[in-house]
Assembly symmetry: C2
Homo-oligomer: 176 residues x 2
């Protein structure tokens, strides 16, 4: 099987991307510490054509040389906004009609393999590398999604978690 050349991948220009219809999925980063993780989330968000990223609290924002390096420039295509307070960001999304879900290990969460997209606008909140999504933020979400984990560690890398959850939701939005 021949590997495809870059020009055969059919990727969009920044202008084509800007005018493309996005999927009704917003990702909220609640105090993500590592610029590397922020850049990686932008890269996944670009690939999966989600509508925006909301950067909250201490989460680094573009323009940043380090985000640019790890996002490979995807922070230039994916729409993003900054909200200092994650609670305000979530409340605003709820007012705008989003179903807001925390990606977190909580009582009563939906295991990702059981998640079923039933339409509408979705926002998913990913949290700090060590502390996760803040309890007061979880408290105002409509629900929680949890990636089942069977090993010795407590959690996944946040950019990997975001990739897995975004993939599962996008797949259902696009192909179900």
């Amino acid at each position: 099987m021949r590997k495809l050349l870059i020009e055969e991948l059919g990727r969009k220009s920044i202008e084509q991307y800007a005018s493309s219809e996005k999927l009704p999925l917003t990702v909220v980063l609640d105090n993500v510490r590592s610029i590397y993780n922020v850049g990686s989330v932008f890269r996944t968000a670009d690939a999966l054509l989600i509508e925006k990223v909301v950067l909250c609290g201490i989460t680094a924002c573009p323009p940043s040389d380090e985000i640019h390096k790890t996002a490979l420039g995807a922070e230039l295509s994916v729409p993003w906004i900054y909200e200092e307070d994650t609670l305000e960001a979530v409340n605003r999304l709820k007012e705008e009609g989003y179903k807001v879900l925390a990606a977190e290990q909580v009582e009563g969460s939906i295991a990702l393999q059981n998640y079923s997209y039933v339409g509408g606008k979705i926002a998913i909140v990913f949290g700090h590398e060590v502390k996760g999504v803040r309890q007061d933020v979880v408290d105002i979400c409509h629900g929680a999604i949890e990636i089942p984990q069977f090993g010795t560690k407590h959690s996944l890398n946040v950019s990997v978690s975001a990739g897995i959850v975004m993939w599962e939701v996008v797949k259902q939005m696009m192909f179900k």
Copy 2:
């Protein structure tokens, strides 16, 4: 929804992990440059209870302080081996009865949303951050899986790609 305490997560000890039945999924890293990515793959491999990671070429191996830091110690639970030559690693897996798939953008790849696990042992090869899986390695794989991408960039971060593909395969192995 109350966030779960660490002791409520039901994670395994290293000993419990060692004696647990693993999923018949092996991940091969073909010349992955970044120790950060290697550590992150170990962390996902631990969470998803896959049977081993094969580290090839320039891919860093434990023991390594930096792998330990990014894997949070998951390199101590997940079985791994080192093979200098990725071609030999793939040929050995084929001899051992694995269906070997490259995670790569190639002619005739299976889009991940169309992938269907039908039993048996699977090995998936992930490649170098810039060059991807080597063409000569792709050539001897049984097939290729491709994560569909709709944005401006050519690829995802390799630890994110590995997380997404591992999730999709593990989900089908465990829950289908």
